[in-house]
Symmetry: C2
């Protein structure tokens, strides 16, 4: 049980965390700050936070748990803004979709408070961003990846595990590098491909006619293409090397199918599609 | 109201059509044939068809409506097998996902009976193939594209429209070429990309670890990758030229994102993602 959550970034992810903690009875008071004062005000009106803080630093003042839920590119500046009031007994977490850059930013900025920081990535989200879509159930039955480093304190790591489990998540731990490589492959690359596909389609003269014929396959394949541009620009940029390695692997696989198609080898094409179809059919979503 | 449906191919698409016609009270009797005798027998046991025919030709005998629901690559041989018993008053349709090749096959084989043929593509399906998944509601609230040619008879075209509307579909008409270009863009290319993505992922040493972290975005993006290899091999092969034109457009869009990422231009990246995100957010599925 915590006395006070300091929430920096009252959007979808941060707002949902505050609501989930309140619902689970894990926190007495939420003090929130967002870069946009109208967001902070709306979060208070919605009951997502109890008190509006005029700065990130003041949101942290007196908090025994702090969540930094800002775009990944803003993480380092947020750490700089709050570091003087982060207590070594505080549980400090983020929700960033990339982890090596966040850990690097923490190492550069948090100094003696580095041990209080538990890097976290909840595998949850919606296409719609913003506090309007905050949902106490957003993290239920979702995985949360914690990527502690050698200086992360055991007390905080254990607390982080308990908090996420209390809001219904499954907790997994891995290194920041292993996290970033895996999510480049199973999340960042699919987003990049969905964006590229929509751009390739929308750039054609008959795009409107084509789109009027699209069905359920298109709907599901492109759902993630509607995601927030700034969020994904930052994710791509902070995980650039892993992501470009994944686009190369994809291009090779694409070329294999294109060449087989051009050559007209039906046996090879059956084999290539069967390989993909079997891999996908065998995939099981992580158990709730 | 028809006396007898001759069904050639008692799988998901054909079986669902038979069930839908029966449910709508549009047909008195269904005579079915599948290449595999066990499929035909199962279709009869399930009540999808009433009578098992020992050949495609005998399934057509006495039918006033005939549906050819075989893999597109088998269409021409099926036409050859049945042409001697196709009456000019019969309504003859297919359900193929490509249309120019089917129309070409019809021109080569159907002779004076060509006017009885109404090329049809219902935009419906499931990942699971086979009569076990046949569903009287498969075509409800789905689009069905009819691609008549200059020799298609008006009586049959009107009948085809009525039949599909009676099972709950919306009917649209276009030329075979326009159909194939559109579906290369909004259906065949997404399938090809989903297959390539799965192959690129499954070929990596850490594939199993990566897949254990995949979430809802991955699930939806790759759903169509589980589709039937032979069905899609045939679709790709019969629509090869349009599909390869679409992969080129996609590669250009992919390269634009990759280059922007490598160069680190955040404004350009925001613009590229916003373009995709807006296009997808504005898309509306065809109204039911």
């Amino acid at each position: 049980m915590f006395e006070q959550l300091g929430l920096i970034g009252c959007g979808l992810m941060g707002g949902s965390f505050a609501l989930a903690l309140k619902k689970a009875g894990l926190v007495k008071r939420v003090v929130g700050y967002s870069k946009s004062p109208s967001t902070t005000e709306k979060a208070r009106q919605m009951g997502v936070i109890d008190v509006e803080a005029p700065s990130a630093l003041l949101a942290v003042s007196g908090a025994d748990i702090v969540l930094v839920a800002v775009p990944v590119a803003a993480t380092e500046n947020t750490f700089k803004a709050i570091r003087h009031l982060v207590n070594i007994k505080t549980l400090l977490m983020d929700v960033g979709s990339t982890k090596r850059d966040v850990v690097d930013a923490a190492r550069r900025t948090l100094g003696n408070q580095l041990g209080a920081f538990v890097p976290a990535h909840p595998i949850a989200g919606k296409e719609q961003a913003g506090v309007d879509f905050a949902d106490a159930e957003l993290y239920r039955d979702r995985q949360v990846i914690l990527t502690p480093i050698e200086r992360t304190l055991t007390v905080q790591l254990k607390q982080a595990e308990t908090v996420w489990q209390a809001v219904g998540s499954q907790v997994r731990m891995m290194s920041p590098d292993a996290h970033d490589a895996a999510f480049a492959a199973v999340s960042h690359l699919p987003h990049l491909l969905a964006f590229a596909y929509m751009n390739g389609l929308a750039g054609q003269p008959q795009a409107a006619d084509f789109l009027s014929l699209a069905g359920p396959g298109f709907r599901d394949f492109t759902r993630i293409a509607a995601s927030d541009p700034k969020v994904w620009r930052d994710i791509f940029s902070t995980n650039k090397d892993e992501l470009l390695a994944q686009t190369r692997a994809f291009r090779d696989a694409l070329q294999a199918i294109e060449q087989t198609l051009a050559q007209g080898s039906t046996d090879d094409m059956t084999r290539l599609i069967a390989q993909a179809s079997t891999a996908r059919a065998q995939w099981q979503p992580p158990p709730p």
